[in-house]
Symmetry: none
Subunit: 89 residues, 4 copies
DNA sequence: CTGGCTAAACAGAACC
DNA sequence: GGTTCTGTTTAGCCAG
């Protein structure tokens, strides 16, 4: 019986191996990133600040959205219909 | 009426503050839990395992059995002996 | 032998039970919070927005710090000494 | 030299962009992994257990045994039968 | 109203 | 040692 215990062993193995393969790739990328930071450091950059810059550039669009949403949000929370509410039911 | 737009701002504030108070309390408890784990660790216990024990006790015995069974099933399907299975007499 | 397997069972049990007790308390608080939200909803408030307000009030001090740090950070990252940098080595 | 303050802004930008590029790639891989889990789930596999299997395969067998042993030890100390222990013939 | 899905909190590990 | 990053767990939301 090629199906011990009721699960398709081959299929299961395939899934597990695909995941493991992808996780390996992911690890490679992570290491690459680490390498770039190391290289930057070798060129005199402060890695910690560099990380912060990258993280900021990532956050900013999101933060901006949130900020925008917040204005409307507060107006609503206070029971004051803000602008752009005319389309609300 | 000091209630612009039909919502009682004071009431809103009251709700927000009640929630914030409760969240503070919740944080205190969380810190207490952390402290207990730290104390246990100081007494030689393995915190990670301790967490696992607590989490296991939370689960219903049946659920635990079932989970374990599926895991063993998968591991066998992959040709990996399940936990403590190979040594069971 | 009151010490099966080399660990002090009573002490272990005590730790586990302290943790479980605290987790129960924590759960009570969580439920209380949920109740407050429900009550607010019963009073006509939008729970989702309420959550956002609470979360914003939590984040704001932190965000402000970060924002402040960021200005200096960017200036440094671009090799432009900003204001208040005169104390930097 | 178009380099205000002693740091090469262009080089800095290059580093930042290389990092951002890699992080994007990494995100793609992460999403791929998520997809595989979803596909496995669609084929009837228990994702949670699947994750556990993958994580177990990552650990060294010895480490796994050891972890298991400590857990059983604790559970016994608390009068709780360890996994699959009571049914082991 | 139950269960799946996504997003946030938490804890653990790694690196500096 | 402490800071950051990763992974796990949890909670809230949504769809069926």
């Amino acid at each position: 019986m090629s199906d011990p215990g009721g699960v398709a062993a081959d299929q299961l193995r395939a899934f597990v191996e695909r995941i493991e393969r992808l996780e390996e790739e992911k690890k490679v990328i992570s290491d690459d990133i680490k390498d770039v930071y190391a290289e930057a450091k070798g060129n005199g950059y402060d890695v910690q600040i560099l990380r912060k810059v990258v993280s900021l550039r990532k956050k900013q669009p999101h933060e901006r959205e949130e900020e925008e949403a917040v204005l409307v949000l507060y107006l609503h929370a206070l029971g004051m219909a803000g602008p752009a509410t005319e389309s609300a039911s």
